[in-house]
């Protein structure tokens, strides 16, 4: 029963997506064009995120560690 309501909810979400982006009104070939463009863009964004985000997060983490916790260099002074 839960699977059925989940499937209905997913179908409802798909209908909302169709109505909002007006793909409900498009002819089948237009829908194909639109969806393929969207999915290509999404895949590209996800791929770039997969490649670059871990590197940037580690860099940012090192930066903050350098600021807060690193006792070796005393170049940062507290001004009140």
């Amino acid at each position: 029963m839960d699977i059925k309501s989940m499937k209905y909810y997913l179908y409802w979400l798909y209908c909302q997506f169709e109505l909002i982006t007006c793909s409900y009104l498009m002819e089948p070939w237009e829908k194909l064009l639109f969806y393929s463009f969207n999915i290509t863009m999404l895949v590209m964004v996800l791929y770039i995120a997969y490649i670059f985000v871990p590197v940037h997060i580690t860099m940012a983490f090192q930066f903050f560690l350098h600021l807060f916790g690193n006792q070796h260099e005393n170049t940062v002074s507290i001004v009140k």
Partner: protein, 547 residues
Amino acid sequence: FFILLNHIVHNGGLYKRPFNEAFEETPMLVAVLTYVGYGVLTLFGYLRDFMRQWKIEKCQNATEREEQKDFVPLYQDFENFYNRNLYMRIRDSWNRPICSVPGAKVDMMERVSHDYNWTFTYTGRVIKDIINMGSYNYLGFAQKAGTCQEAAAKVLSQYGAGVCSTRQEMGNLDKHEELEKLVARFLGVESAMAYGMGFATNSMNIPALVGKGCLILSDELNHASLVLGARLSGATIRIFKHNNMQSLEKLLKDAIVHGQPRTRRPWKKILILVEGIYSMEGSIVRLPEVIALKKKYKSYLYLDEAHSIGALGPTGRGVVEYFGLSPEDVDVMMGTFTKSFGAAGGYIGGKKELIDYLRTYSHSAVYATSLSPPVVEQIITSMKCIMGEDGTNVGKARVQQLAENTRYFRRRLKEMGFIIYGNEDSPVVPLMLYMPAKIGAFGREMLKRNIGVVVVGFPATPIIESRARFCLSAAHTKEMLDTVSVSSCVPSSCAFYKQIQQLSVFCGLVQCLVYKLLNLMFKALCSRAGDDTISFLASTMQNGCLQ
């Protein structure tokens, strides 16, 4: 309660009853998504136009001929672009042919389109008993059986259908005289005159009343007939914001103080054009305030009661009775017989001198054919029924049923989470849809569930505020209204709006949290590096979060 009390007392005690009108603002997310939808459709429109121009796709709309390609282009403006690419996609929701009397339920011819709404073919099947939420049948007098129909049939056998003349020549029947006396008695005015067409009543009589050197103050959302009549008259037209009395007062003050534009002479006449119920918004005019302003600045009032006559007021006498005012305060009371009386035509009521003048000088009286006799009899019978002069309670019961239906339906839809425009008491219920795909989806899905609605889109409404307009009737039963309100939840996704409200609250919380976090980080940075600009940034972030 205090807001209502404030409103009643605030206007000098002009209102005898609470005036509840609301035009809820478009939620920001919905507006953004609507623009996204229109953006996608515009891009595809450009693509299709490109394909049509380069002959990749067959061009099925009107274009110039080959010889005219070097002339000024005819079909390049936005209206034609919209027509070709957006309107054609959802065109099957309009111009649907009906094949029975448009009462509470109606029959419709089924039609299909095999080339995406460029051409339609009839399957031959008739869809029966569609709940009719689109006809202006406020009191349910659109019937094919009953006293009105019998009387009209009798008159048809006596007088025939055609009049074959204008009112001033040979078309003045005794039925017309009887009708006009009855209309005058119904409205509570001295005299009235009836015309064959409601649109023509406005567009042909306003030029007879005002001319050059006069000023017309017209509401922003007035009907096309009023706008056409005002423009044809040649008077100066100034527009005040919809139902906004401050705007109207400012315009009146400026008109009296400054006079005509170059010569500074006083205006010959100042005419205020308002409607009783505005059919796209469902709002009711603020008549007590308009009349107070009119008296203060000595101008004239033209009230177009097309939708409100028969539909408002305890005995159906219109918006003047709804507010408990006297009909003598309104100089020209205009209305139509199309909506509440189940007939066709319009009337103008007022003082005897005014109506005698219009009988001679109105374009409609001189050139337009007068009302057809069976139609006149339908109006006479229905009007007598509403007034109670036929000896039954039917008219009064219908007026009360309409008021009940209005209150019930509006309450149901609001509970479901829809955004409904307009006054609490108006039988015109606009349900906001906003997104272009929802216009088409709503019309089609409601027809699948055997409900016929009118959906309205761009040229008639602002581009993001498209709506579905329900016109309630005294003939609708509570079960029909329940069916309609439940069915409308699915295509227009009322749960969507509730979720948007929750989402926007959630977004606000997230925004505040993010600001706080960034604030902490910048403060830490500031204490380490000692930069003044960063501390300034931190303080502005804090202010932003508090807001």
